[in-house]
Amino acid sequence: MDVVLLQRRFSEYLTSLFNEGFLDEQFKQLQELQDENSPDFVFEVVTLFFEDSERLLNELAKALVQPSIDFQKVDAHVHQLKGSSSSIGAGRVKDVCIHFRNFCEEQNIEGCLRCMQQIKHEYSLVKNKLENLFRLEQQVIQAGG
């Protein structure tokens, strides 16, 4: 396919991710940091984010099935996830984390469990979107862009 068309497909997809709130301004900060010295910076940091998030989601799942939930522990994990999602611009994940932390503070089990479901959902959505984005970018590069 023509490299210009591929580039357009990539740009349009990226724009849609911003419009739909999957990514926020912070993702642009990430893009601005990428340069000739670190040409894969965005990909590397996002990959770290995926690994870190999956670890945190596992820890959260474990913590939430305990007979007596340790809300401080849950909050600590959510805090970490909020930090990393915020750093890379995963806006919707970050927003769920904020609600999640409020429920932790209230020791609201129902609320926490609901947020857990939401976070898993938002995370898998943004992961899928970002993987698509990187795939489109690779196509541009392979076509000589």
């Binding site: 900060q29 940091v45 970490q80 750093s87």
Partner: protein, 145 residues
């Protein structure tokens, strides 16, 4: 004539954060501000690294010119790390910048009163580069680099 030979030596910054994603982000951010960067995953490791430079015969390259630390870390917060640095006769002159996702005036005041050079909100943006760069310039002049 090679311009790098007339360039001042790069400042060596120690970046402390318990999140791998945020460390990666911070490291690149600082490198883009023309710094040499060492990262540490917690306050204890940071203190260990800082103590190394005081050992006799240690390379001058280890000398840390600035510390930038996340505030919310388990075990030792950024504030507690700041206190330890300021209490040390060998380390107290190293400027410390605290970063946090929490915009809490009492926390900010506490850190500045304890001797933090600056308190910045996370996630860091391109616009924060200006602020950081001017502090770095100041530190560079102070140590004659």
């Amino acid at each position: 004539m090679d311009s790098s030979s007339i360039n001042k030596e790069k400042l060596h910054v120690l970046a402390v954060d318990d999140s791998e994603v945020e460390r990666a982000f911070m490291e690149k951010f600082l490198k883009n501000c023309d710094c040499q960067v060492t990262t540490a995953e917690n306050g204890a490791r940071a203190m260990e690294y800082l103590s190394l430079e005081n050992e006799p015969g240690k390379s001058k390259k280890l000398k840390v010119n600035m510390i930038i630390t996340d505030h919310s870390m388990p075990e030792m917060t950024g504030y507690e790390l700041l206190k330890k640095v300021k209490e040390s006769s060998t380390m107290k002159d190293i400027p410390v910048v605290i970063v946090s996702s929490d915009n809490i005036p009492t926390l900010i005041k506490k850190c500045l009163e304890e001797g933090a050079k600056e308190f910045m909100l996370k996630p860091l943006q391109q616009s924060d580069k200006q602020k950081l760069r001017s502090h770095l310039k100041e530190f560079q002049q102070l140590i004659g680099k």
